[in-house]
């Protein structure tokens, strides 16, 4: 065994670099998808409901009802679908069959009620199959109607003055890109490192590696090295692309960002190596990796909010390194805050990486049995 030797580590590092750089296909497949995915998904994904298709039955056919319809469709949240038949029954049928997301019915006596000083009743029916669209859409509809009411009445006495901080334009890409960066690094990192390091076992070269005087820690660090360099490059490139495409701000400290990202990348790679010590074949390694990576991604707050989970899952998500990394990314990139706010998250990441490497190192030698 002997003690830790830097020279041996360097030799092992060289072996791993030669192996990875020698395989062009692996290189492309590790470098390009993260960049392309951040660009495409950052552009494509929109958590705010838009283009809700709306079937309309305007039985009132008055200036007042047309004005209300215009208000509904003015800002692109609702898109009216006109068909030849605009009876109330056909609107209900359209919602029933799922061809539209919502149906709006303005009854015959709408304008008459208003002119008599009564509120004019309108009915809005949502297809609740997508409860997310239904809920957020109902919220928008209420905003639209209260705006409409305010327009035709003396100024409302109580009005909220709302300012959006850090992302005043509510740009969805600024919201998603930090989550995407973290999630893609995690998914690619786990998959690549687990399948790369289980390959030695599959091909039988692991025994040779373990017979050398190198310690488990040296072997592990050498395995982490090339992937670490690759993913750091991918992170830089993805960050540059999102700055170019979405104008993603970088308001915090770059050195701090790089330091923390290194810890995170090491954590992701070591999860993969840890998985490879349990798996005998690449097939098993992959199945376990995907199974680990997807829940880590979905339970991180990148795409689905953490506060909405039950307390059990919220507590469990505290051991998810991706959750901490996303909090840190949003803080550094968008808020421009520093260590004084994010130190608990940084500590959690550090602890996670250290524990993952330690368990892998202890299991590494015994995995052949």
């Amino acid at each position: 065994m002997g003690e830790f030797s830097v020279r041996r580590l360097l030799v092992l590092l060289r072996k791993e670099f030669v192996q990875i750089l020698g395989n062009r296909q692996v290189l492309y497949i590790l470098l390009f998808p993260p960049i392309v995915q951040v660009a495409l998904l950052g552009y494509a994904m929109n958590p705010l409901v838009k283009h809700v298709t709306l079937a309309v039955s305007d039985e009132s056919r008055t200036p007042a009802s047309r004005e209300l319809l215009d208000a509904f469709t003015a800002n692109g949240v609702f898109v009216p679908l006109r068909s030849g038949d605009d009876s109330t029954a056909s609107v209900y049928r359209a919602v029933q069959s799922g061809t539209v997301d919502a149906g709006l019915v303005i009854p015959v006596d709408f304008a008459r009620e208003i002119s008599r000083g009564q509120p004019g009743d309108v009915q809005l029916v949502f297809d609740g199959v997508n409860s997310f669209v239904a809920n957020l859409g109902a919220g928008y509809a209420n905003l639209i109607v209260s705006d409409y009411n305010a327009r035709n009445a003396p100024a409302a006495p109580l009005s909220p003055q709302i300012t959006f901080a850090y992302n005043s334009g509510l740009l969805t890409a600024w919201f998603f890109v930090p989550g995407l960066l973290g999630a893609i690094l995690m998914v690619t990192g786990i998959l690549a490192s687990s399948s790369e390091s289980v390959r030695e076992k599959d091909e039988g070269t692991l025994e040779q590696l373990l017979m050398t005087p190198a310690s488990s820690l040296e072997v592990l660090l050498a395995k982490i090295g090339p992937l670490f360099v690759l993913f750091t490059c991918a992170l830089w490139a993805a960050l540059a692309v999102s700055r170019l495409l979405f104008g993603l701000p970088f308001r915090g400290d770059f050195a701090l960002f790089m330091g923390i990202s290194s810890i995170y990348i090491v954590a992701a790679i070591s999860i993969g190596i840890l998985i490879s010590t349990f798996a005998a074949t690449q097939q098993q390694a992959v199945l376990i990796s995907v199974f680990t990576a997807l829940p880590l991604m979905m339970l991180s707050g990148a795409f689905a909010p953490i506060q909405s989970m039950t307390p059990f899952w919220q507590t469990l998500s505290l051991i998810n390194p991706l959750r901490h990394y996303i909090t840190i990314l949003r803080d550094i990139l968008l808020r421009g805050t520093g260590l004084e706010v994010i130190w608990p998250n940084v500590l959690a990441l550090l602890a996670f990486a250290a524990i993952a490497i330690w368990i892998s190192a202890t299991r590494y030698r015994s995995q052949l049995r």
């Binding site: 994904m45 409860s131 009445a153 009005s159 690619t188 097939q283």
Partner: protein, 370 residues
């Protein structure tokens, strides 16, 4: 096409699969585990956003206002010290918005003078920000009307109703979507590995040397993996029924046709990836990371496809999970059957035929590359 040869190839594939006990166990345990984790944990309905309130008014109005905000399911009101700036409170990261109720608000309201309530909202999470805006506007409208000098009633009263899932049971929204994600991820992985492993180990040469044709080779592998995929589908749906009571809401026939089609598409995609790549690592990156991410994020599983830019809505038409989610949600929630879903079935059949040709092309000569 010789059906006996296809059958033999299929049996060989199933025997290899069964021999690897751990993979067999994983192929069923992992989808079930994923269903349980996603189905129990993921909720999109916004809840419990912490909002800091600085109440300078300290009047019956302001107390009523704060308690109404707190009563909403979405927000939790937290009283903050008055001497800190709203920006500093947001920077500290413990609250997602601050609300300042200026002194004299209640008096201004009673006198009919405008009374602004200021709010600074952390917009790093755009969904939270939008929700906070909606709730603040609704609450000020409601509470303002109670305390202000009487004015005319509103012109329009909106009555909204949500059909099919009126209780807003989110499991009914999430679980049929998770079915699609699982069937998009696991059969593809298994198929890609089954294909590329033969190439990496060199055993594919034996298939090349035999009288097996490319179409028969692919059909045999496809049949075996289709069976495995359908068994996975059956397992997760049985658990969906047992845990969340997710059952057919109407005519199950479109769904019973759609599920084999969906599994078929994903298996063919896996075989295609396996046929195009040379090493397991590349096959995995393609089928594992790209396919999984796209199936989760571009399928409408969480956020609606209709909100995406037009270009991506078109792209999403080639993602099988997107069509299958429509079919699955219709079968388990809406229950109106054929009229809403026949296009999805047609699309799945089309994607499957294109993928079948795509997987066949690189193998058609049944020879090693020159």
């Amino acid at each position: 096409m010789n059906f006996r040869r296809i059958w033999v190839q299929c049996v060989k594939e199933l025997v290899t699969f069964r021999r690897d006990r751990l993979t067999l166990a994983l192929a069923f345990a992992l989808p079930v585990g994923m269903l349980l984790i996603f189905g129990l944990a993921i909720r999109l309905q916004i809840k419990n956003i912490p909002v800091g309130v600085q109440d300078f008014d300290r009047s019956p109005f302001s107390r009523d206002f704060v308690s109404r905000i707190d009563a909403s399911q979405e927000l939790i009101a937290i009283s903050e010290p008055l001497d800190r700036s709203p920006t500093a409170l947001l920077d500290a990261g413990n609250v997602s918005a601050t609300i300042v109720i200026p002194p004299g608000t209640q008096r201004a309201l009673a006198a009919g003078r405008p009374a602004p309530i200021q709010s600074l909202v952390d917009a790093t999470d755009v969904v939270n920000a939008e929700t906070i805006k909606q709730i603040l506007t609704a609450t000020t409208g409601f509470v303002g009307a109670t305390y202000a000098a009487p004015s005319a009633p509103p012109a329009v009263a909106l009555h909204e109703r949500i059909w099919f899932n009126p209780g807003g049971n989110e499991a009914l929204f999430i679980v049929p979507g998770v079915y699609a994600v699982i069937l998009a991820v696991f059969p593809t992985l298994l198929a890609a590995i089954a294909m590329v492993r033969d190439k990496e180990r060199g055993t594919i040469v034996q298939a090349y040397a035999s009288r097996l044709r490319a179409a028969e080779f692919i059909a045999g592998k496809w049949l075996a993996l289709e069976c495995i995929g359908l068994a996975e589908a059956f397992a997760i749906m049985a658990i969906g029924l047992a845990v969340w009571g997710v059952h057919f809401a109407g005519d199950p026939v479109p769904f019973l046709i759609g599920t084999p089609l969906m599994v078929g598409c994903q298996v063919l995609l896996g075989l295609f990836i396996g046929a195009r790549t040379n090493t397991v690592t590349s096959a995995i990156q393609a089928s594992g990371s790209v396919n999984s991410l796209v199936s989760v994020l571009l399928s409408g599983f969480l956020y609606p496809v209709s909100s995406m830019p037009l270009l991506f809505q078109w792209i999403s038409y080639v993602v099988p999970a997107r069509h299958y989610i429509d079919i699955s949600r219709d079968a388990f929630v809406r229950g109106s059957g054929w009229p809403g879903v026949w296009t999805g079935l047609l699309a799945l059949a089309l994607i499957a035929s294109v993928l079948a040709v795509a997987a066949w092309l690189p193998l058609r000569r049944m020879q090693l590359a020159d």
